[in-house]
Amino acid sequence: MEYFDAFLPIGRTNSADRSSPTDTDAALAVMDRFGVSEALVYHTVARDSDPELGNAQLANVKHRRLHKIWAFDPAYVIPESPEKYLRRALKENIRAILVNPLTRNVRLDHSPRILELAHLLEKRRIPLLTVHRQWCCAEDSIDWYRLADFCNRFPMLPVVAWEFRSRSNRPMFDALATTKNLFISLSSVWQAQMLETVCKTFGPRLVFSLGLPTLDPTSFIGVISYAPLKTKDKLAVAYKNMADMIKEARHE
């Protein structure tokens, strides 16, 4: 099985697994160990606290297997427009954009800068990764109903959601049921038999991740390898969904 990690971190962060990479070589080593052929990489500082500082740390990451993600700061007072930001990101070969609504209490569906950025990304089909991470809280951080509303406002925008653990599956199912462009990281969904439940009910609307920095990277390989699904669906989750999103985006 070929894997594409949709959320591979580079850099230190709280409670990181000891195998979590801090540079390009370490990222490639952990990918090789677990059979991950490609990955979207972000810097932990960009996700956790300072998007621009973290984005800059990726300047020297240049490898055909690593596709860079930049984080976006929704702060309204930032002088650079979302359009200029995106132009700058594309010049740096950025393949997807990450926003963390939990820095702090930002609403995707009400932030003027995120809405403007989403509109620009939608035109190019560039994936938006909503990474709901806060150092002091863990599971069930996503408001699935608001996220679904946001997705439906930009129906051609691929949205990939991550949080530490999506334990409450009822609202998550509702979000999948009421959207077409929402995908979820498998590493957020720990519950038994959820992969097959999601695939059989909604289609293969998940993307693979090793679960770093906070989960042991051995955790989700078996979830895919043992799932009672057609190879086509397993491959979609393991690799193809994310690879296709990157391929179909217009980055030029």
């Binding site: 099985m1 000891r18 009822r170 038994a192 038999q193 042991d216 051995t218 390989i221 078996g222 390898s225």
Partner: protein
């Protein structure tokens, strides 16, 4: 090359080793989630895909009425005695219910007791479990707790009730000294893939391998998340086998449990 790892990567049932999952929950729903494909027959199919021979199971509705949820476990054992063993879930807030729950569990072939005061809004250190353990002491039972509290507290039970097997239900090194000192104290690997638990490799490096038992927390968590850290670890194959099932089989022999596991 690890044969177990190779089969795991390919999604083939693990063979050549008994696989006993010491920490499972059966149930169709909790306040967190609905649980699809949770009927006993469906779970057996799920176990077979991984090559899991037997699971020790208890309620998933641990914050509510214990009797109703325990009944689900006993019914599963009635249907598949070679695949399921049940533990009796007690609600820490209602010790007056314990005698009836324990008697019923004994009548229904339970293998012991499951404790989880942390989900029942009762401070662990305030609970006197001794009435339950007094009942259990001559039954060849195991007692698995979500978290036993201070090591001193678990030591008190381990010393006072040497006939009972005490299992710490989630990955931690808090009871390292007790595992070495007491033959009746064991450690489960459950949820070791999560950063706020002890990692599998830290369990393996710090604890006697004979005292480590595989547990997944299924159907709360996927079997794959529990097996991955063990099966894909860079450790000798024979140690993986001990953790996956041989250690649990030793406990079963000691407690005279007939688990119905056939040689693989």
């Amino acid at each position: 090359m690890s044969k177990l790892a190779d089969r795991f990567r390919q999604g083939l049932p693990l063979t050549g080793v008994p696989v006993i999952d010491i920490h499972c929950h059966l149930g169709a729903s909790s306040d967190y989630y609905t649980i699809p494909r949770s009927r006993p027959g469906e779970v057996v199919t799920y176990m077979d895909r991984f090559g899991i021979d037997h699971i020790i199971t208890f309620s998933i509705a641990v914050s509510s009425d214990a009797a109703a949820a325990n009944e689900l476990q006993y019914a599963a054992v009635d249907q598949y005695p070679d695949r399921y063993s049940a533990l009796i879930c007690l609600h820490a807030a209602f010790p007056q219910d314990w005698p009836a729950l324990l008697k019923e569990g004994h009548r229904r072939r339970a293998r012991g007791i499951k404790l989880i005061s942390q989900y029942q809004s009762v401070p662990e250190e305030s609970i006197d479990w001794s009435p339950a353990f007094d009942f259990a002491r001559d039954k060849n039972w195991a007692v698995l707790h979500h978290y036993w509290g201070s090591p001193e507290r678990l030591e008190r039970w381990a010393k006072a009730y040497p006939s009972l097997v005490f299992i710490e239900g989630h990955a931690t090194l808090d009871y390292k000294k007790l595992l070495v000192k007491y033959p009746n104290v064991y450690q489960c690997t459950c949820a070791c893939f999560v950063n706020w638990m002890c990692s599998f490799m830290d369990l393996y490096k710090n604890l006697p391998v004979e005292k480590i038992l595989y547990g997944s927390d299924a159907l709360d968590l996927d079997f794959g998340t529990g097996l991955g850290p063990i099966v894909l670890a860079d450790i000798p194959e024979h140690d993986k086998e001990k953790i996956l099932g041989r250690n649990a089989l030793d406990i079963a022999r000691r407690l005279k449990w007939k688990l119905g596991i056939k040689a693989k």
